[in-house]
Symmetry: C2
Amino acid sequence: MAVYTEVDDEALADFLLRYDIGEAIAFKGIAEGVENSNYLLETTKARFILTLYEKRVNADDLPFFMGVMEALADAGFPAPLPVKARDGSALQELNDRPAAIVTFLNGMSPRKPNASQCQQIGTAMARMHNALASTTLSRPNDLSVDAWPDLFEGREATAATLAPNLATLIAGDLDRLLDQWPDPEDLPQGIIHADLFPDNAFFLGENFSGVIDFYFACTDMLAYDIAIALNAWCFEARGEFNMTKGRALLAGYTSVRDFTDAEVKALPALIHGAAMRFFLTRLVDWTDTPADALVRPKDPTEYAEKLGFHRMARKLEDYGYMPASS
Amino acid sequence: MAVYTEVDDEALADFLLRYDIGEAIAFKGIAEGVENSNYLLETTKARFILTLYEKRVNADDLPFFMGVMEALADAGFPAPLPVKARDGSALQELNDRPAAIVTFLNGMSPRKPNASQCQQIGTAMARMHNALASTTLSRPNDLSVDAWPDLFEGREATAATLAPNLATLIAGDLDRLLDQWPDPEDLPQGIIHADLFPDNAFFLGENFSGVIDFYFACTDMLAYDIAIALNAWCFEARGEFNMTKGRALLAGYTSVRDFTDAEVKALPALIHGAAMRFFLTRLVDWTDTPADALVRPKDPTEYAEKLGFHRMARKLEDYGYMPASS
């Protein structure tokens, strides 16, 4: 949950004068997103989410994130649309923080996605990649393979508290990943969500209804987005991979866009790497979050367990992939 | 902010089958109330608040709280109305906790109430007292004068860390309050809200629109509710009493229901006592809340400063009261 910055009724009323979206009739801090302060805002005209961007978001990246959401809306992909103020800009300032209002998206996040939802999110991700294919926006992925050794350095002892031999295993993983990591130029690249976990996807009943939280979006290999989603959607407890869900997610994606041969070859390393990225950032948060913080850090163990599966996998078929020719 | 208990999409869908309020189309944990977990729930039919009652609420009291809200709705007073499930009961269970769905109230809480809002909340409180006058519900106020010495005992040292002589002053206040406290039988009694702070009151634009959070409601002297509200609505920073706001709140209340002579006489002690009640419960939370708790305790200093004002006041006119004859 996250409401770091309080916004009072008078500050809100003043802020809304900058927009043409009516007057507030309800305003509630919501427990969504861990990086920023989020409010549900209902006005006399419609419902919105007001976000105040806190320290962990680089303000220089915000125009990129706004541009990604605008591009998706232009292409008809269901994502929040930033609302422009009267001055023409969606990026404003409130309580000394960058702030933006985006449209409200109906839907609920699945806690335990089923195979149908995995298939639908695969399809949605391919549609999202296509929708962003023609934008000229770009932002480097600063949490990719090059960043990982530094994230791990000095945290070997913390890793060892999670499992006795974990520090050694991670060091081995890192060597292998640096060695196996594909040259991005060899794979289709574009804008990826890079954090498409179930809590960033909405469904209405059984049907996909939208994607939120584009604040890790960046330019990278499209297949890396799939790698992140396979980790986030297709595992059960204790690092057990659900092959049916993996198959569904991959089939959903390839029903819209087929993988290139280079992608099929590279994906096992990308999937392994995606687990490493979330293991390491959780390990950092686990080490660095003060005990009295408002947000409890997520236990890195979940991703340590997933790494255990990836260490044994060798080809994309091990994740449920069925080549079109089969 | 408070979302202590997670409710996943499947548990919610199952839960809603017990009601005739449609299917969920949005569901967000909200930062409202510190005692319970609250969710904004939008269904295909309307918007609601789903509350899961956590440990600090005594489950035996819940039927009383539901009854109070129902009585208010019956009388046309704007408060959340508990929604009955198909089994006829508004009280259900979800994730091993008592749970209830209430109707959604539009409006926003003022952070710094102005004199007009103080006047309106005084009027609203009198209307609320009238609306509850004919119910037979009752619940003792277990946070009144008899409970205070025990709350203070053992916390003198903590009080002394807030201000050097505070422990002595509080001990003196307690003696004086026990001595001056009126016999409840001598004053009009009924059901009071007992926690009508600005964040439990809603306004739409400048106009009062409703009251929420009845989870401290109890049977007590009606004037004690006024005493709590005067403390909560009419002070500026550093314990400075705003006489204009006090006058407005009292005038608002008496425009609907005149005080009896006994109430006018007793109110200075009740106002002093109301500040003591919130000072002491905040002092307890301040002492007892673990550093890693999700909710940061409120600083008791605010109420220590208000107690400083009350120590000097002698009559209700010191709070802005203007007798009808003047």
